[in-house]
Symmetry: C2
Subunit: 160 residues, 2 copies
DNA sequence: AAAAATGCGTCAATAAAGCTGACATATTTT
DNA sequence: AAAATATGTCAGCTTTATTGACGCATTTTT
């Protein structure tokens, strides 16, 4: 039976040595992003649970508040999900009175999306704990540092 | 019918004005985190698709590689999911030869988890595009800036 | 004016990934 | 001997997403 150190070591032998990659890959920051995001979304998740809503509802409410009048197509593009995934979530938000649809003034096929006051309140309530968490993470940071972090996050996006 | 500007405005009237919150909440960075993470996970997602694996598999392979010998309980704590959610994913990874289990030397109830060489290769293949993306986001940044970003991400975590 | 494309809603079927709760087994601790 | 622990497993369920197809109203193109 080949040992791990053999050149013919079976690919199925367990490896006990820590991962070596000659420092090519920074696993630490990959993990940091994972943990940061996991906890970042845990705050609104708890609030949403009470109303029977989920993360998807949060995203929709957030973006409609940020850009009132955006269309369904805009939202699909932003969230990178399919029309059918959005449909259920959007319907629930409309039925619950958080979002309203208005036919587009120029192109009447469009359904422009607007928050109601309740929708705006919800978006703020969800953003509040996230904002507090961000402030805590920036504690003692200079304005330049804040800008650096924002630049980094912008750089993480796929440019379209 | 009450107008939007009325003090009695119905909570269900659509609001066309942009969200005003006296600058209390920084929506920009909330969005930046959303977009950054959305694109950050899109790279491995594409690779995983080909093997019929999902994000959950990625996380397991990643952490087992990072800390060979971790137990099932460790993994549950790290991922903050339930035993049953992990079970299926872990079983698939073991059956596919990416991860092996070994009874703990001291406590033989434990199942210590180790990557195989194939598991290590997979973890690296998944981390590689993420690493490239991070490097791109850090392009031209100083070592101090990198540290600032890491400190920020650490600060975003819930301290346990 | 007719044809094609677009924006949206909806239906049906399906899958991935998580959940709860209960219970079994082996092992270690008390 | 009894209790606690680490793990595995079973059954059933929910949420969130998927693909593909189709219909309707409207706008754009021919």
């Amino acid at each position: 039976m080949p040992r791990q150190t053999s050149q013919n070591a079976a690919k199925t032998e367990p490896l006990a040595t820590p991962m070596r990659n000659a420092g090519i890959i920074d696993f630490e920051i990959i993990e940091l992003l994972f943990f940061a995001y996991r906890d970042f979304v845990s705050d609104p998740d708890q609030i949403l649970d009470k109303s029977g809503f989920g993360r998807a509802h949060h995203r929709v409410v957030h973006f409609v508040n940020r850009e009132p009048g955006m269309t369904v197509a805009d939202l699909l593009e932003t969230l990178k999900i399919t029309k059918q995934s959005l449909a259920r979530v959007l319907k629930q938000l409309i039925d619950s009175g958080y979002i309203r649809q208005v036919a587009g003034p120029e192109d009447r096929r469009q359904r422009k999306l607007y928050p109601t006051q309740a929708g705006r309140d919800l978006a703020l309530a969800l953003a509040e704990p996230q904002s507090r968490r961000i402030e805590r993470a920036f504690e003692g940071a200079s304005e330049a540092t804040r800008e650096s972090v924002k630049r980094f996050l912008r750089g993480m996006q796929t440019e379209k």
